[in-house]
């Protein structure tokens, strides 16, 4: 006998999934903004000739790149509150873990992007009388950001996938709601298939867009 697929219970509980989708989007928005901005700052610090800026940035990057993000989330959720006088919500723990992890990876993208800009650009800017900061802001960073774009959209996609880890601390997002529905309705097959399909449909166009971007930049100024 083959399995009889039945999506009825899921349709009836669409509001539960919708609530989860809202939670996923909220966490994604927080982590994408915080992760990318913090990553830009850390990446700039890492590229700085000043050691007191570059070294702590390097330590941050190495630590967060070389530990699993789920360990970070659980650390922020279970361990950090002991050092603090207040509780950490599941949203805060997940947002901290994912944002800091993404910031570390983004920082490496930023550093690579800046390093890829020809030295001549720096020298020309200095010759025009710009300071180091001005050369960075007006000349180097705009060119570097363009080259970093595919890697950054890739980061965004990774962040979107990472939001599911928040279910480990019971934050209400899509997978968490899926777990709830699957155990209520005894239909893990349909539920997890639908959850996977939702993620695929959201991310597949983004992945294709990233490929297209890579091809376009590949033809460009390199």
């Amino acid at each position: 006998m083959t399995y009889q697929w039945n999506f009825q219970p899921l349709l009836e509980n669409a509001d539960v999934l919708l609530q989860g989708a809202f939670g996923t989007l909220r966490l994604f928005a927080i982590c994408a903004v915080a992760g990318l901005l913090l990553g830009l700052l850390v990446g700039l610090a890492r590229s700085s000739p000043r050691r007191w800026l570059a070294w702590p940035a390097r330590g941050f990057v190495e630590f967060f790149r070389n530990t699993p993000v789920l360990v970070q989330i659980l650390w922020f959720f279970f361990a950090l509150p002991i050092l603090l006088p207040f509780e950490i919500s599941p949203l805060a723990a997940a947002a901290l873990g994912i944002s800091l992890n993404s910031a570390a990876f983004t920082a490496e993208i930023v550093r690579g992007g800046i390093a890829s800009i020809d030295r001549g650009q720096w020298e020309a800017a200095r010759a025009l009388g710009m300071s180091g900061a001005q050369a960075m802001r007006r000349i180097v960073l705009p060119q570097a950001l363009r080259r970093m774009l595919p890697a950054l959209t890739n980061r965004g996609i990774e962040i979107f996938k990472m939001t599911t880890l928040a279910s480990a601390v019971a934050y209400v997002e899509l997978l968490q709601q899926g777990k709830l529905l699957a155990s209520l309705n005894f239909n893990p097959i349909e539920t997890y298939t639908v959850i996977a399909a939702i993620f695929f449909l959201c991310l597949f166009p983004l992945v294709q867009a990233t490929y297209a971007l890579e091809r376009r930049l590949g033809r460009g100024d390199h």
């Binding site: 650390w75 050092l83 990472m162 599911t164 880890l165 480990a168 997890y192 991310l203 992945v207």
Partner: protein
């Protein structure tokens, strides 16, 4: 102020080490199956035949664009009902990460193969080799060297991703840490030590990977950027 006390962590060091061993086991198993499967997927995707290309592309895209945790839940909670076979957390985890890493390895292999100049193919053809011979004797040996950095990076990524198996109660390092934390009421110390163990192992692995990468760069065989 919290008073740090690592005594309870030391007392349970054996449990944590057992967890680390399980982490390495699931990573090793996923690599053992994922690498050959990834090569097969890459070759299918590069095949001149559509009937090969299309399914490989589907597997690769689905496993690369859905969250690994969703895949794990699907394999652990849904698949056993569908095929009526009981699955232990280890089997479900190994299966998920074998296929998932295969999808990523396939792209590494494909990148490596594509990076080999067209001239190499044409020369091999001119010498009378067929598609398969060209691949095995000429293209793959060159491609594998160039792929090594990307390959090592992926393997390290895989080890980090295996922490997800803790959510289906496979007793990896993270799961054991959680158990010990609950038993000893010392989550701060236990999770900090667990994070440090992961850091030492993964940072060590990535340093080794960098040495390889530099050697390849020196010998001029690294992947061109």
């Amino acid at each position: 102020m919290h008073r740090w006390d690592f005594g309870p962590v030391w007392a349970n060091a054996e449990l944590l080490l057992l967890g680390l061993w399980h982490t390495l086991q699931v990573t090793g198993t996923a690599l053992a199956f994922g690498v050959p499967l990834g090569l097969a997927l890459a070759l299918m995707r590069l095949s001149p035949r559509r009937a090969w290309r299309w399914p490989a592309g589907l597997v690769i895209e689905v496993f690369r664009t859905t969250p690994p945790l969703v895949q794990l839940f699907w394999f652990f909670f849904a698949l056993p009902i569908l095929i009526k076979v009981e699955m232990t957390p280890f089997v479900a985890s190994a299966l998920t990460f074998s296929i998932q890493s295969a999808a990523f390895f396939a792209e590494v292999f494909r990148g490596g193969i594509v990076s080999v100049e067209r001239g190499q193919w044409e020369a091999a053809r001119a010498l009378g080799m067929d598609h398969r011979q060209t691949l095995r004797r000429v293209v793959l040996p060159q491609a594998v060297k160039r792929m090594l950095p990307a390959f090592l990076e992926r393997a390290i990524e895989l080890m980090k991703t295996t922490t997800l198996v803790a959510t289906v109660s496979y007793a990896d390092l993270l799961f054991q840490a959680n158990e010990v934390a609950q038993k000893t009421f010392r989550p701060l110390e236990v999770f900090t030590v667990a994070a440090l163990i992961y850091f030492v192992v993964i940072f060590g692995a990535s340093q080794v990977a960098q040495v390889f990468e530099r050697r390849l760069a020196v010998s001029g065989e690294g992947m061109q950027r």
